[in-house]
């Protein structure tokens, strides 16, 4: 039996990788993938705890998260395509119309 802490550690590592990728990467698609990575890291800890405490709620939450992530992927990719069409670039640093 693999101890609980290993799963949690893996989840934390994956989450931190996601955060780091989100902050560091310049390509919009990579940033987007980092977000997915963070979501799945959280999913992993949900499943871990659900298994540990024999509570089904955690697993249900995972389905919700996956569903939201799927929807987000659909919308997000559409936005990315639209942005690319207009700006002809996916570099996050160049997409900065929001500043004053």
């Amino acid at each position: 039996m693999i101890p609980l802490s290993w799963y949690l550690l893996l989840s934390a590592v994956l989450f931190c990788l996601g955060v780091a990728g989100f902050l560091i990467k310049r390509n919009l698609i990579t940033v987007f993938m980092s977000i997915e990575l963070m979501l799945n890291a959280v999913n992993l800890s949900f499943v871990t705890f659900a298994h540990q405490w024999h509570a089904v709620k955690g697993q249900i939450f995972v389905f919700f998260v996956m569903m939201v992530a799927a929807a987000e992927a659909a919308v997000g990719l559409a936005i990315i395509i639209a942005v690319f069409r207009v700006r002809a670039t996916l570099a996050v640093d160049r997409i900065d119309l929001m500043k004053l």
């Binding site: 989100f22 902050l23 560091i24 940033v31 996050v92 640093d93 997409i95 900065d96 500043k99 004053l100």
Partner: protein, 654 residues
Amino acid sequence: MNGSLDLLLIPVLPFAGFLLNGLLGRGLPKWLVSTIALLAPLGSFSVVLRAALAIWGVGSTPLALPYTETCPLPWIDTGTLHIDFSFALDQLALVMLLVVTGVGFLIHIYSVGYMGHEEGYWRYFSYLNLFLFFMTVLVLAGNALLMFVGWEGVGLASYLLIGFWYKKNSAATAGYKAFIVNRIGDFGFLIGLFLLLANFSTLTFSEIAEKLAATPAWQGGVLTAIALCLLVGATGKSAQLPLYVWLPDAMEGPTPVSALIHAATMVTAGVYMIARTHFLFDRSPFALDTVAVVGAATAFFAATIGLVQTDIKRVLAYSTVSQLGYMFLGCGVAAYSAAIFHLVTHAFFKALLFLAAGSVIHALGGEQDMRKMGGLRKRLPVTFWCMTAAVLAIGGFFPFAGFFSKDAILYAAFLHGTGGQVLWFVGLVTALLTSFYMFRLWYLTFLGEPRSEAAHHHATPASMLSVCVILALLSIFGGWIGFGEGLGRLGAFLAPVIGVRSAETNAGKLELYLSIAAVAVAALGWFIADRLYRQRPQRPAELAASLAGPYSLLANKYYVDEIYRAVFVKPLQGISMYLLDWIVDKALLSGGAWILAGVMKFFGAILQRWQSGNLRSYAGWLAAGAAAVLLFILLPWPALLASWFGIHVSWGGN
């Protein structure tokens, strides 16, 4: 007589005319504008006539006076203070209304001819109707506050009409001057209202009179203060010393306006107001004496200036100031009905003088300088005869209107003790001056040889001439309403409102002597004018040259405008510019605002850098924020604080 007199209609009709012409007049044809503008005062006049018939009981029992109509909606209703839109009709108001709407209507007719070529025809008539609205409100007002509304309103209408030719700089300035000088007087009136409110806790004239009647011992003191404040208001509106300066300048307005507003009606509002609040003045001998002295001084002072003016309208303006001084003199010796009588006759002959002068000016294509007139008798025969009647009336010749009313005032002044005889003497000298400068005007304008050939002359329309003729008849016969004992029918009619002084009732030989003296003095004035301006036309110039000092003093109107400019206007301008504008406004207020704005801008510029638009920097701040929250929740703060700083805090409940 039962039923309503529809007093409300009297002011509302001109107001409707004002709205119609003022809002739509630009697009309406001239005949329609004239029709609207003439129907409004005609309607008011007929309502007034109906009221007069009801009061004199034609066809039924006479109406009991005072008759009050109150608007069912309250105006001001706060705790102890309750003020309504109430219109009160009594004998005094009726006389005044007849003059205002009657003469007002005539001058409306005259204006149709006089202003026919003007561009702002509709504007002119809407202002004229507006004036009539406010004037009737002023006269009908049952309480002092409503009177004040009318009072301010006529000032506004006067300002608008003086500045009617607003493209002319002098006209616009004269409008300001009239408005500002009037504001000074209005301020006094307003203080008087506050004092009335504080001491009587009502502004309704009848209630104030009742309260005063209940306390017969109450004399002087605060009543003097109230009366003097009201007097300040009256001097502003009625162009008395020291606030008369606006009236001569008001002649920049169209001549019919000068006739209606600045001679016949509005400027008499001060006299009317004093007569309306006479119960206050009666309780304060000091205030009454002040009124009398102000009146006599103004009468004399303005008459001397009138001697040397060369602008025909300015002569008439100073004579108006002078005649208003007579009315104040009458009020000041408590001969209110004599003052009102003079107000009525003055309205007739002064309106006529102005309208006749207007017809002269009209015929000469805008020329107002009497030195360039002369010999107009043949060209303007009707105007000449009308003017003659008016000159005889204002000069005080028997049996013209001015004789009776001026005589009544002088007689009342003479009976007013020792000081009264001084006042009488001043009035008599003024009568001499009046007669002189009016005949001077008459000779210069109508007699002798034409001194310049006017480039073009219009024919005077029949509408203008017929108005002049009506007013001439009134100037000749109008005085007879006050003929006889105690001002005759007029005195008896006004008696219930403003009382009869014993002095006015026992006319005897003395009055006859005084009348003869007055007429003799007037004839002397005529004689001098005749010598100077008919027989030896070069003599006035020689006289002016030999008396250069006094002449230039008079010609420059005693330098009063210059003195006011140096004493009041310049210092005020200095304070406004240097203290208020530069120091207070620009340095303190504006500077403070700029400093605050600068500080905000400075911090804003720093914080602005946060808003980079860079997605990853936002994400970084998000992550840092999340880390900070986690740190805050997870770290054992109470223990840390205790160990670092020795501070002990309890957290929540544990």
